[in-house]
Point group: C2
Chain length 332, copies 2
DNA sequence: TTGTAAGCGTTATCAG
DNA sequence: CTGATAACGCTTACAA
């Protein structure tokens, strides 16, 4: 069905190794043979079987990418970055989503290992979860780079400074005169959420401000979660004056709820997010995160590691987060 | 580095074929051997080399997905759908983006064919472009399904009824009393755009309404394109009263421009989009498109075709588009 | 400059 | 019930 190198060998009367050599641009073939091979290959639409090639060469020119949800702007920008540099270097990428489910994460990684990817980029669940599968990778000496880090695990990482981001928004809110501030956190399995929240609490504590526990929400992960929380807030008589959301998507959900109820942001509630997603046309004060660049860095780091045959020591890249003040926070 | 079946063979003292048989749940092995194999395999963390497996079995359990831009909600929802169904059936998916570039499209498909995917899902450029690479697939008898259709090419397809969508919005606008209506089209390579625009023109024509050519824009593909067009519109003294945009992302760009200029939608301009993306918290009148479902249908159709060994005749699935009236259109 | 042969990790076939 | 052996399509010594 698919033409092979031995087919070409028979057709041209040349040996398989000759065909292979020419096709791989090796030196030392007469122009005549070279032409003959190239021509008949083109004529019959020969496409080398990379999979057979991978068997001998130990390289599949494939990398795996495991993210949480392709539908989330944060992850699809990372994906785009990975994609771009992978393609530049001739790699194809397997895309897998864990959907924030640990079992799925383990399975998908396993599947990609089985398919003998040359390396893996993983955005793992980082809290309240076992890392056995990641350690297994390390033991196998399969190159991989993590988005985020696992304490005590020495490997390449790309990270964002979430603590700083959390601190920046909180201080901004404080400066604007807010003292009754709520926080909507993401999933418990997210380390970014843990760090942002820690920064939030620490910063408030440093200013001797305490938060009412009823202003703290958890486990939000979608626009509809944000929407539901927005409605809870609307129903409270002593609402906070400001709300820090784990990401822009959630923030948009909250804003939508207020909008639907005829309330205004920031007049009735100041709202902030994280990610600075382009689609949020609402002038949302947020913390920008260089996701596209991080994706590129992720892929570049992995490819470097694959080439170097894992000699050099681990690389750790940290991207800064930066507050983007816009109009969703009111000066009190 | 990676443990193989022959390693297991040596360790257990059993033959390779025995190991292979047990691992693949074949009948006819004593419970004793079975246990022995399974146990040592687990002990040493054996992961079958799918790539070697693929060499003999002719199946790689991998499918390829080629889209235009993962960052666009339309495509990432399709991707999510494909992903889900693929994972359910034990397939891993290669994700490639053409970035709306024909050369890239050809190359990426070529790469995936080289990696011997079992089948391909392609969202190809459909206008002003050659289809040689698609015909080559057909000749190779490699299963594939298209998002959209190519006239004269008999293959599985999943489509949206873009003409109907275009007609629905246009009629809606007419009903609301608009007669000076503009249109922002997507790229020339998009058939969806061609169809939506044709419906737009036909519908206006049927109502004996003509559009001013200066109200027609082309080649928009991003929020910033929409933004720029919004600004052009703002600068016009005789603006249209309504604007049909190729998709929600572009529409959001237009709205953003108006917002920034202190103008209001729909008071100063009625705007509509396509896709009904969740993130558009602005109450945008749009045409909803079941992208997630389409993604699932795409994957299911492909997998069916792979199993059936391409006997049955081509399947064509058409998803309807549906107008979702919201508040971005003003009653005149 | 070209050809032969072995090997990559599996599965399949066919004896034992 | 188990074990050799060939085959999948390619690369790579090594030989001619």
């Amino acid at each position: 069905m698919n033409i092979t190198i031995s087919d070409l060998s028979k057709m041209t009367g040349l040996a398989k190794s000759t065909i292979s050599g020419v096709l791989n641009n090796k030196e030392g073939f007469s122009e005549k043979t070279r032409q003959k091979v190239l021509q008949t290959a083109a004529q019959y639409g020969y496409v080398p079987n990379e999979i057979a090639r991978g068997l001998t060469s130990r390289f599949t020119k494939t990398i795996g990418l495991l993210i949480k949800d392709i539908t989330n702007p944060f992850y699809n920008h990372i994906t785009k970055g990975v994609q771009e540099v992978a393609a530049e270097h001739g790699y194809t990428v397997f895309l897998c989503s864990s959907g924030e489910d640990h079992k799925m994460e383990v399975e998908q990684i396993q599947a990609m290992v089985g398919k003998r990817v040359d390396g893996l980029i993983i955005a793992p669940l980082l809290e309240e979860v076992s890392f056995d599968h990641i350690y297994a990778l390390k033991r196998k000496k399969l190159p991989f780079v993590l988005l985020g880090n696992i304490p005590g695990l020495d490997c390449d990482t790309v990270e964002f400074d979430d603590y700083s981001g959390g601190k920046q928004v909180t201080e901004h809110l404080l400066q604007k005169g807010h003292t009754r501030i709520g926080f909507v956190n993401g999933l418990n399995t997210s380390k970014a959420g843990k760090l942002r929240f820690a920064a939030f609490q620490d910063t408030l504590f440093a200013h001797s401000i305490t938060t009412d526990p009823k202003y703290i929400f958890k486990e939000a992960k979608s626009l509809s979660d944000g929407y539901a929380i927005g409605n809870q807030l609307i129903a409270m008589e002593d609402r906070p004056t400001a709300l820090v959301c784990f990401d822009d998507v959630i923030a948009m959900g909250v804003i939508k709820a207020f909008d639907n109820a005829g309330l205004k942001v920031p007049d009735n509630l100041s709202v902030t997010g994280f990610d600075d997603i382009e689609l949020a046309i609402f002038p949302l004060t947020t913390v920008s995160i260089p996701t596209l660049e991080a994706g590129k860095a992720l892929a570049q780091t992995l490819i470097d590691r694959i080439m170097q045959e894992r000699v050099s020591k681990s690389k750790h890249i940290v991207f800064e987060q930066k507050l983007i003040p816009r109009a969703s926070v009111k000066q009190l």
